[in-house]
Symmetry: C2
Subunit: 220 residues, 2 copies
DNA sequence: CGCAACATACCAACTAGTTTGTATGTCAAA
DNA sequence: TTTGACATACAAACTAGTTGGTATGTTGCG
């Protein structure tokens, strides 16, 4: 193992090369879709050659699978699962509202849409390997939310008459649905209105006694 | 002008040829996406030649625009706008619930997803002409629902504290979001659970006095 | 009506460029 | 020196779109 200082001077650093390929591939695929993202375009976005790419990945599909596993999977994990775990003893509804409000609404993000949905929408009907990997991500996302809701039910902050798994997938559907609408409109305003509706729905999951309903009317 | 009987025997029937191209193109694009649907594949699905295609359509994009205008636009129109208009004096919530429940849940439809979302998701960030056409469809869809809700507010069957446009786009987001989830799962069960949640939400739009809440517990 | 003049609808082959993937060679590091 | 990590050049298949030509349908005119 080389020290970091030496690592910088290395001409050949396979891990780094692989990472760069992955990142560039993700960006290109995010823009054009997987099928239309040409290998040449990915290579042009790096200064890596085709030989290097096919040294690290057996095929374009293989590269795509790695994108899903190593990059796309991070989004729900970092943005949803980690925050939910960290707010372990707080009201999960508050946590979820915070998470929803924290989803980036920059034009760049709105226009590109959700990478997970983009890939699922394009590849799931065409390639079972893609589909399975994407489904694993959706499932752990849903399970993380459901778990938080269950916690809230035990705490008494979340209504007991709802089925956590169903509410979780409903929330995911809302978020993804609005991201699709905002992406089509290419307009962050659409997304911001969506947040408002989603937050309203989330508040309706509180136990009737517990309604702190954040009616602070800060601008949305 | 030739009579219908003679028309069948005609060797050249430009309208028919155009329609056949459109239908085949729609099916191919529905399966593979627009960019990956090759012109050759579309032609192989008909017995029309490339010359004929480029006689009727200036380019592949042009063919795509025609698909949106003449085929994709029909889905929200036929499945949402027409039923809403027809149920003019009934409770719009009942009408909407009926519409949502009537969305096909056959494996074929679930696996292919919503043609409107498929195209929007793929093409809206890449081609402004696609985007505008798709946005028109989304907008008239939303406007149709909003109008029905407004009607309900005047009738007294729909809560007055909600903003019709926002509730309309919320409903669309839910429907599309769940279609994305179901498409990724490639499983109609996911969609059926979604319907349940959406119907529950729709019932929550009724004016408190008016809750007939279809709690018939028929299996979902 | 009958026929020439024209316009539309279509066909098969082709072009120029792009696609993923490979075969072979070279150079750095252990 | 051997082996992994690349680079270069290339191939075979596929891409959208064009070409020149032909068969059919329509229409104006005698």
């Amino acid at each position: 193992m080389l020290r970091a200082r030496e690592k910088k001077l290395r001409l050949r650093d396979p891990e780094r090369t692989r990472k760069r390929l992955l990142r560039a591939a993700f960006r290109t695929v995010y823009r054009s879709g997987f099928q239309s993202a040409s290998v040449d375009a990915i290579l042009a976005a790096t200064n890596v050659t085709k030989g290097a790419l096919y040294h690290h990945f057996a095929s374009k599909e293989d590269l795509g699978y790695a994108i899903v596993d190593e990059i796309v999977a991070k989004f729900p994990h970092d943005r949803w699962l980690l925050p939910l775990e960290r707010s372990n003893d707080n009201d999960p509804i508050d946590a979820l509202i915070g998470i929803v409000k924290a989803i980036p609404a920059r034009p760049r993000d709105v226009k590109g849409g959700c990478p997970l949905v983009n890939l699922a929408q394009e590849m799931s009907p065409l390639d079972e390997q893609f589909r399975k990997r994407l489904e694993r991500i959706f499932h752990s996302w849903q399970e993380g939310i459901a778990e938080a809701l269950r916690r809230g039910q035990h705490q008494g902050t979340v209504r007991c008459d709802l089925v956590p798994e169903e509410s979780a997938s409903f929330l995911i559907a809302m978020v993804e649905g609005y991201e699709v609408l905002a992406k089509n409109a290419q307009d962050p305003k659409v997304w911001n209105v969506g947040i408002k509706s989603i937050v309203g729905w989330l508040n309706s999951l509180r136990t009737p006694g517990n309604r702190k309903r954040g009616r602070s009317h800060r601008r949305v």
